[in-house]
């Protein structure tokens, strides 16, 4: 059974200093076993400026079993599958400890973005490129960040378009999107409850 009291506490704790860490965790539905975490791409890396979404599933044994995390935003990184978003990180597997939290785990993922481990790859193609053609790797990673991890102005317009098509007034859609920070799902949830 998932320790929901602990998950609640973790969410509160995490949202308290969201400005400092930039790491956000929020429930995907009303169930606390499925969460969405977002981390900013670390500065000085090809991922800078991007906001990466991570899908978090809490197993029954949490916190005695590691949370199942994988990127839902596409990332070009030797330790992250470019296809599925699976993360190769020891603390999410055999090195998990119940003293770790969702926030510390996400921080580790963020650290992984700035320090790739090509010797222990998840995505062999990316790892090969990282080792052989580093410049190509950097530009590809940057391109992927631009393409998938940035909430560009065009992206916002697309979201507005999508929500308006669902039958919400455009002004309301814009203001709601602004309130939730451009998150389409959260905006939709909010619009439905209004």
């Amino acid at each position: 059974m998932v320790d929901f009291a602990r998950v609640q506490k973790e969410l509160q704790e995490c949202n308290r200093d969201v400005e400092v860490s930039g790491i956000k965790v929020s429930p995907k539905a009303d169930k606390l076993t499925h969460l969405i975490g977002t981390i900013p791409g670390p500065l000085g890396t090809p991922y800078e400026g991007g906001t990466f979404e991570i899908d978090i599933q809490l197993p029954d044994g949490y916190p005695f079993e590691p949370p199942r995390m994988q990127f839902s935003t596409k990332v070009w990184h030797p330790n992250i599958s470019s296809q599925s978003g699976a993360i190769c990180l020891d603390i999410l597997k055999d090195q998990w400890s119940p003293a770790l939290t969702l926030k510390t785990a996400l921080l580790s993922v963020q650290a992984l973005l700035s320090a790739p481990q090509p010797d222990d790859p998840q995505d062999a193609v990316v790892a090969q490129q990282y080792l052989r053609e580093y410049q190509t790797f950097v530009s590809t990673a940057r391109y992927w960040t631009e393409a998938f991890a940035k909430t560009s102005s065009l992206g916002v317009e697309e979201k507005v378009q999508k929500l308006v098509e669902m039958g919400f007034p455009e002004a309301l859609v814009r203001s709601t999107l602004e309130v939730v920070g451009g998150d389409e799902n959260l905006a939709l949830e909010k619009l439905c409850t209004v």
Binding site: D3, A5, R6, K9, E10, E13, G61, P63, F64, E65, P66, K93, D94, Q95, W96, S97, P98, A99, L100, T101
Partner: protein
Amino acid sequence: MSKRVLCKFFAHGACLKGEHCEFSHDWKDPSNNVCTFYQKGVCSYGSRCRYEHVKVSRSQAFASSSSTTNSHQSVVSESVPLACPSKTAVKWGYSILSVKPADHSICSFAAAGNCPRGEKCPHIHGDLCPTCGKQCLHPFRPEEREEHLKTCEKKQKHLEALKYSQEIECSVCLERVLSKPTAAERKFGLLSECDHPFCISCIRNWRSSSPSSGMDVNSALRACPICRKLSYFVIPSVIWYSTKEEKQEIVDSYKGRLRSIDCKHFDFGNGTCPFGTSCFYKHKVKPGSYAWNNLMPRKYSSNAVDMDALLSSFKYLYRPHRRIGREEEIFNAEDLDNDILTPEEILLMHLDFETSDDDDDEDLDDEDFFLMTQQGFETSDDDEEA
């Protein structure tokens, strides 16, 4: 002195004091039906008590002891040894000047924190204890003072530790350990090798969780979740420690407690304990158990007394009419009437024979063996939460 109240014992026809009784042996006098236990504060019969539960106000009890209107109460008051030699001697007309000051007990109200009689109290008021702030130090009994100061300080320390413990959070459930809902959960689990606090249920849960995702029992689960230092056992404690000595004290008292409990795995020699010689629990070998029959040290068999023969005769006598591992029956006296010798008798016979032997060294060995088997193997080291 108070002949006015009917003697309770006399009323039941059994007063041993006869003429010398201080109570009336005259049927015309009224009996006193007041419950003395109730007046002292505790009557275990409660509302079912056949004596009257009358509360006596202090002043009344006070006054009545000087007059002798109510003998029952006066007896109560007088039975308390009084204090303050000069004051009370005058006030009460006793000649108690001959009594040493150390023989007087101090006022219990003052010792409890507040004496309603204040300055006018006839009893000695003890000196103020610096730790608990109560007047409970007897001015004339140095040993008592010492003892109180010591226990008081200990209590104070314990209280402070408890207060400090209240704040400690478990790093797994992120809750304050001593604020958990059930009493069983309000316990710390101390790790032997590091000083990170967890609640006992969390750390035990973690250590016993099945290594599903390839986690290694020895490197991951046995390690502290925070510092990953390996600890081989967890000690439950209701209090968190602040010094190394305090931790050691907790660990020692825990181990001491376990050492007096028989290990259920070992089962007096019939089972096998996974922790072996490092088990915290008592490993006692009972005569007739598997370990007794098969695992006793072989080196003793070469002694003057043939231990093999002894043991086999032991087994032979023991087996036909008994089941394994039932000590009560082995030592039952009923067998003494039988023609068959009991195991103890055989053992004693052998030992008698052996004491007449001249070989001292071997004697010692045998005695060791005998002692060992009698007391069982009591080993202590470390163990896991069994």
